[in-house]
Subunit: 159 residues, 2 copies
């Protein structure tokens, strides 16, 4: 399969294209898998992080599920309505709201998580374990670098 001349030569741009494609391909597994359980990816993300980390401020959940704060509010609202998540004001800092799983929420994520995890293990199974580990290292550098660059270029001028 050929690449266009522009991209074949331009390694950084090619990397960006391939990153987007790989994410999309794996993400489709995630979406389909989670949809089986009547949840959206973001809803699942909230349940999952509370399951593994315990009670957390909204802002910390937000950082982990990779959406904007207003979207977080929206999803948490839905989960509260469905009785899977509970809000309570933080005693330490009156700006923050703490989130935790209800008994029902815990029951559900405990049942769902292992099944979904297995799906995702298969989704990335085209890479050998050794290459998976390599890729983790490379993507961590890439991701952290991109995040840092974005943060430092935001307050100042665009270009």
């Amino acid at each position: 399969m050929k690449r266009s001349k522009a991209v074949r030569r331009d390694v950084p741009l090619h990397l960006w294209v391939v990153l987007a494609r790989a994410f999309d391909a794996v993400n489709r597994h995630s979406r389909t898998s989670i949809a089986r359980f009547g949840l959206g990816v973001t809803e699942f993300g909230v349940l999952e992080v509370l399951y593994h980390k315990g009670e957390l401020p909204v802002c910390q959940v937000q950082q982990r599920i990779l959406v904007e704060s207003s979207s977080t509010t929206y999803v948490v609202d839905k989960l509260c309505d469905r009785g899977l998540v509970r809000r309570r004001p933080s005693p330490a800092d009156r700006r923050v709201t703490l989130l935790s799983l209800t008994a029902e929420g815990r029951r559900i994520i405990e049942r769902i998580f292992p099944v979904h995890a297995e799906t995702m293990r298969r989704a990335v199974g085209a890479l050998l374990p050794r290459d998976q580990t390599r890729t983790i290292g490379l993507l961590r550098t890439l991701g952290l670098g991109a995040a840092r660059r974005h943060k430092t270029s935001e307050p100042t001028s665009p270009d």
Copy 2:
């Protein structure tokens, strides 16, 4: 920086998390950069692919911009309204609609693309060129494998 025990041990799941984070971090550069020009990422994607590949059927554009067909229709509508893209029926196959840039569309993407490309090169600049090439290879394998697995598991039963 530590990882939770569950993920630290579970290499495939960790890979999925890191992939999502890396994509998100780089994607923010893309979004911010493209927003400067008063376009959405998907709109930019359409202009870009028509710019580099010339006239194309809607379905081929769709595959490259990684959204569903109905979303493609939506974005193309907007670009046509703005006079940047033109539709015409394919003479060869009466199901397909061919898309191409108008003079105005070409003018805009010609001006925008180099600027955006440079932003994206910087966005992935945390990796050395050598590591960028390595990552491309690994992500290609990962992405193609995931796409194949998803395709073959879709028509049959979920699990």
